[in-house]
């Protein structure tokens, strides 16, 4: 357990030390500040727009950080040969990967905390309220999504080169909504074989759109927060996919000659 914590701490510190996390955060914060500073016709309390833009920027910036960070973890260890002294220690590969996973998630949390701070200050400045229960559920579901993206990033980086892994990760994140809509829409257009394929794909591809609670958070005056049962199912869903990718990573990792 201690070794997991040590590795995750290294990942987190390195993420904080590296310039890109600041560049992404700075650019996003700049965008947020500009948006919050625009005076829209001297009207107070136009919160839906601010909420939507802030949540989108938060999510995009964190996802980008997580995808880049997770995709780079393993290849760099191999490239710089820093993995060899680590593996020489009595450290299990599962602990090593778990440490990396925890580190990236903590980095995502670090990103979210920065954005949350700006969002809260901005909202108070604009003069609106924060729908706390919606907002916290939104963050929780985003973290589950980041967990899937992290393990997927590890896996992709083990089977293809870095740029390709990052590109594929970003495409997967950006097209999440298209994916889920297209499956339901195409179902009526295809034959039996197509229908079977779509059903299988729906269940074997993680539907990241399910972790995007921004719609209800933006229009929170109309929609209630999610019930615990739904949150539990979504948590299990995220763990199933992350666990599966994690296991695949372990298998590939073991086969790699170290």
């Amino acid at each position: 357990m201690r070794s997991i914590w040590l590795i995750s701490r290294t990942v987190l510190l390195e993420a904080i030390r590296r310039k890109e996390i600041y560049a992404i955060t700075l650019v996003s914060l700049l965008l947020l500040t500009v948006i919050f500073s625009i005076d829209f016709f001297q009207i107070e309390g136009l919160m839906k727009f601010y909420r939507e833009v802030a949540l989108k920027i938060m999510s995009m910036a964190t996802a980008l950080t997580v995808i880049v960070l997770s995709s780079r973890q393993l290849p760099r260890e191999f490239e710089n040969k820093t993995i060899y002294p680590l593996m020489a220690k009595p450290l299990r590969r599962t602990s090593f990967l778990s440490g990396k996973l925890l580190g990236v998630i903590l980095a995502a949390l670090f990103c979210f905390s920065l954005f949350m701070f700006v969002y809260i200050i901005g909202t108070l400045y604009v003069g609106g309220g924060i729908p706390w229960s919606h907002f916290l559920q939104y963050i929780y579901l985003q973290l589950l999504q980041m967990m899937i993206l992290t393990t997927l990033g590890f896996l992709l980086s083990l089977v293809m080169n870095l740029d390709a892994a990052i590109t594929l990760g970003i495409i997967f994140y950006i097209t999440a909504n298209i994916l889920i809509t297209s499956f339901t829409y195409l179902y009526d257009f295809v034959g039996i074989f197509g229908k079977t394929m779509l059903t299988v794909l729906t269940f074997i591809i993680p539907q990241l759109a399910l972790f995007d609670f921004s719609g209800k958070t933006v229009h929170s005056e109309v929609w209630p927060p999610l019930d615990l049962n739904t949150l539990a199912i979504l948590t299990a869903y995220a763990f199933v996919f992350s666990g599966f990718y994690y296991l695949l990573c372990i298998v590939i990792f073991r086969r790699r000659a170290i």
Binding site: I178, A209, W223, I233
Partner: protein, 339 residues
């Protein structure tokens, strides 16, 4: 040789530097995106392409801000619920009317204002809409009869995934009456839209309409500023003058409203095809706005100006547009008043 080379390089660097320094003189005049019309801004084509299967699958992914606004308007007015039908955006920009193409039930948002706040423009060219909304002017219930993008449990093959999808995203059973919320929250989007495309006349029109909906002087003044910006970029747009006239009238500035309606009517007549025939380039709403501008120009001249001038311009306009019952009635009234 080396000295020659370095001298040549120095001269080249200086030349390049001067060119670069002076380049904004050319760059500021480059405006490849500055053109009027175009399919991306045209209501009819926008409606058709956004209703297509490909567009529905793509969700909010669009390359034009105008299309993004189209989607945002639908989502915001339906509290985030994505429907397969589309609002009649043209009607919304023309007279603040939400027309649901799915079942042809429409709600005139102007009716949500108290009687004394409604202005003549809407009275003149907006009638006979069936509406069934609650008294609250922010939210009202509405029965759509159109499918949602996320299917109902009966139509969904995805089992638990579909169930989670319906729970996480804003979704309502389409067979049940649902909420229509106010579009005031859309205002920042319209501001962004017109900032990124100042030739998007609809953006200025709808933005101004929602500002008027606030019924406060500060926002009415903001609406005028907003429309002035639109007029600066689109000086030939008669709709912008018409809308500015409506807002100016709300502020009881009758003389200016009169001049604005006149300007709008003159511009409209210049653009209108000789027979006023409805076509792709001259839509039903173009014609309605043009007629409204003409009628209001006559009406305000009669009410706040000189009846004789009003009669003159009414006759001149009638001669150009051939026939219009309301204008003919106005002329009759003025003649009988004169006698």
């Amino acid at each position: 040789m080396k000295i020659m080379d370095s001298k040549r390089e120095g001269a080249f660097a200086l030349f390049l530097f001067l060119l670069f320094l002076a380049s904004p003189a050319v760059t500021m005049r480059l405006n490849p995106k500055n053109y009027e019309g175009g399919r991306s801004r045209d209501e009819r084509t926008r409606h058709i392409r956004n209703k297509s299967a490909a567009a529905l699958i793509l969700g909010e992914i669009r390359s034009s801000m105008s299309d993004i606004m189209f989607i945002k308007t639908e989502l915001y007015l339906h509290s985030g619920v994505a429907y397969k039908l589309n609002l009649d955006y043209d009607a919304l920009s023309s007279k603040g009317t939400v027309v649901e193409k799915g079942d042809q039930q429409d709600v005139n948002l102007e009716q949500l204002l108290p009687e004394d706040q409604r202005n003549h423009a809407e009275h003149e060219h907006d009638h006979d809409h069936a509406h069934h909304h609650a008294d609250d002017d922010k939210i009202h219930f509405h029965c759509e009869g159109a499918d949602t993008v996320i299917p109902t449990r009966k139509k969904d093959f995805r089992g638990i995934i579909g169930e989670l999808h319906r729970r996480v995203k804003p979704w309502q059973d389409p067979s049940k009456p649902h909420l229509h919320t106010s579009g005031e929250e859309l205002l920042p989007w319209y501001r962004l839209m017109t900032l990124s495309d100042p030739h998007n006349i609809r953006g200025y029109m709808i933005g101004a309409w929602w500002l008027k909906h606030f019924k406060k002087e500060a926002q009415l003044q903001e609406a005028i500023k907003f429309l002035d910006e639109g007029i600066r970029y689109n000086p030939d747009s008669y709709q912008l003058y018409l809308m500015k006239g409506n807002i100016t009238l709300s502020l009881d500035n009758h003389r200016e409203a009169k001049a604005l309606y006149r300007k709008s009517a003159d511009l409209a007549i210049r653009k209108r095809p000789p027979d006023g025939k409805i076509s792709r380039d001259w839509t039903h709403y173009n014609e309605e706005d043009a007629l409204a501008a003409i009628r209001l120009a006559v009406f305000t001249e009669k009410e706040y100006g000189d009846v004789k001038t009003a009669l003159d311009i009414a006759r001149r306009y009638l001669e150009i547009i051939n026939s219009d019952l309301i204008l003919e009635r106005q002329i009759q009234q003025m003649i009988s008043q004169d006698q």
